[in-house]
Symmetry: C2
Subunit: 341 residues, 2 copies
């Protein structure tokens, strides 16, 4: 019905305003070199015609798309979501758009996405909390666009990142439990193979135990995948197989929440019978009951930071420094001091 009416281009504006396309372009970009009169005329005609520049055409000539690709291991889950939120905000402020990709922790899928992003000529890429395989690095290099990592590291530290100091944070979480009188402390760690965020947290836990003269016992550690379900099964395992424990450190809030559910179902009261500390501080963590004591990561801020680093890189900055953001322990309702014997 109105399919016939044609979408106005810069030429249409030029013609109707009796100027050249170049002049229209100048006016629209507020460059120098046109009289006030032409400016008004052009603007008015553009308005009349309902003209909107075509970013695709523009992108073709200046090789910039103002678009960046972001890869997450799982878009659902409060974790990715909070980070995405910060990124989206920063992107919008800086005139960029974000293409989201859900890699589902799958290598092939990730490669596929990387190719799509390459073809779409994104100006830069962000990887969030994902193990960076060598394949990716190769593809990334071929793309010749800047890359920033959130909450993860590349093998040789070769890609700029923003993250917290996982090991130290885990150390602090564990120490907090110890200071509250706990000595029998279990842990639900992240994916076993994950040396980047999984391992450091485990190390921090272990180190804290050792520094306080508490023997580390492998049997008190169960492995999850950072997600709710993983937390649940890990907790079930601990409850049935591990030596008794009075406190638990979960390497993610989702796992902590999953574990809490299992505990409650088993009639274990938190924090009366068991103290739990999480890791992340998702929005939901303060909303559940009892509200979760946890290590706060400024997720939205991390997303924002990463995006800003990336934009700086895109803008020609040669190097940006990695950013270790501050975590902090937030005391809420899931840890109780143990009376000393």
């Amino acid at each position: 019905m109105d399919q016939d009416t044609h979408v106005p281009t810069i030429k249409d504006v030029a013609k109707k305003a009796n100027v050249s396309a170049a002049t229209v372009s100048r006016v629209l970009h507020n460059l120098s070199g046109f009289s006030d009169r032409t400016k008004r005329k052009v603007l008015q005609v553009a308005e009349e015609l309902g003209y909107r520049p075509n970013a695709i055409a523009r992108g073709l000539v200046n090789k910039r798309t103002q678009t960046i690709g972001v890869l997450f291991p799982n878009v659902s889950g409060g974790f990715s979501t909070d980070i995405l939120h910060g990124m989206e905000e920063a992107a919008h402020e800086n005139g960029f758009s974000i293409i989201v990709c859900n890699t589902a922790r799958d290598g092939e899928r990730t490669m596929k996405y990387l190719q799509v992003l390459r073809e779409k000529q994104v100006d830069g890429i962000i990887f969030a909390s994902q193990v960076i395989k060598d394949d990716y690095v190769t593809e990334l290099a071929a793309m010749r666009v800047p890359v920033v990592l959130v909450n993860t590291l590349a093998s040789k530290d070769s890609i700029p990142y923003v993250k917290v100091d996982d090991q130290q944070a885990a150390y602090q979480a564990t120490t907090y439990l110890i200071q509250n009188g706990h000595r029998e402390i279990a842990m639900i760690a992240g994916t076993l193979g994950d040396r980047l965020t999984g391992l450091p947290r485990l190390k921090g836990y272990r180190q804290a135990l050792e520094d306080h003269g508490i023997p580390f016992s492998e049997s008190r550690v169960a492995y999850g995948d950072f997600q709710l379900e993983g937390g649940r099964s890990a907790m079930e395992k601990l409850l049935s197989e591990a030596p008794p424990f009075t406190a638990l450190f979960a390497a993610s809030d989702e796992m902590a929440i999953g574990a809490m559910g299992v505990a409650f179902e088993g009639g274990i009261k938190i924090p009366r019978d068991l103290s739990i500390i999480g890791y992340d501080d998702l929005i939901v963590s303060r909303m559940i009951y009892p509200p979760l004591t946890t290590i706060h990561q400024p997720l939205a801020l991390m997303g924002r930071s990463a995006l800003e680093m990336l934009i700086a890189l895109i803008g020609g900055k040669q190097e940006v420094s990695n950013r270790i953001v501050q975590h902090r322990l937030v005391e809420r309702g899931t840890v109780r001091p143990l009376a000393r014997d």
Copy 2:
């Protein structure tokens, strides 16, 4: 250092393979009209050079970007997240990319996004759970791209949508409470002004009460914004101002969870002292304790559906029919039958 090496274009491939760019294009698209020998040659050279087609250039020619824009009122929050997940999945399967936009329920911001999406020549747009203002409709019309709605409606039903029957679902939720012996039932409704998902749920609640001979009392209704914080304040208001109630229907799981937190803090045990039923069935809802009894909406499926409808429309389909997806009540741990007097 390697900034000089130039990114290979179709011409480079053509030259090196001793054919024309046209032929390369044909081979790459598997069109007819080339010998097997050229095909092999072209493919091999393309591989050698590490050639990747430029989707921007292609988009300029065929006016298709294989990209769609999705607008959410808030990207964080389990709700949008679950929908996005379904969309992302379907998009990926169909060779589309998704640009996410967080409108923050702000009209101006939404318009701004719409303009960006227009300039970026997205092939279609999805609005998720947002009131559709007339401004948007105008802009959308000017964009000449198909639009699909998830969990919302446009004023004159003029835009295809996928959603559940809110009123009926709310009716069912409320009836369930009544069937469990509750007669003093409060509600935390959605945004007051929102006639699209807010109002129908309120109506369903009200209708259920009336159909069972229970007088509706405005004082037992508080309004939230579908989010956690809104649920908290609404609950505080109900607790302090409303006549006593034994059951609560919250128009979103987030609000239900927020309300549960407030209840617990006030020493109110759920479901012993108060029964709660939510609406959405977020992933987290089954993980908290007690697990939330709620109205299940197939969020990921709805996202997927919407995306598939949109792709059909983009593909030239003239019309798609609206889709009312099935909700269902899932009984978990937050509602208890009230002993009859």
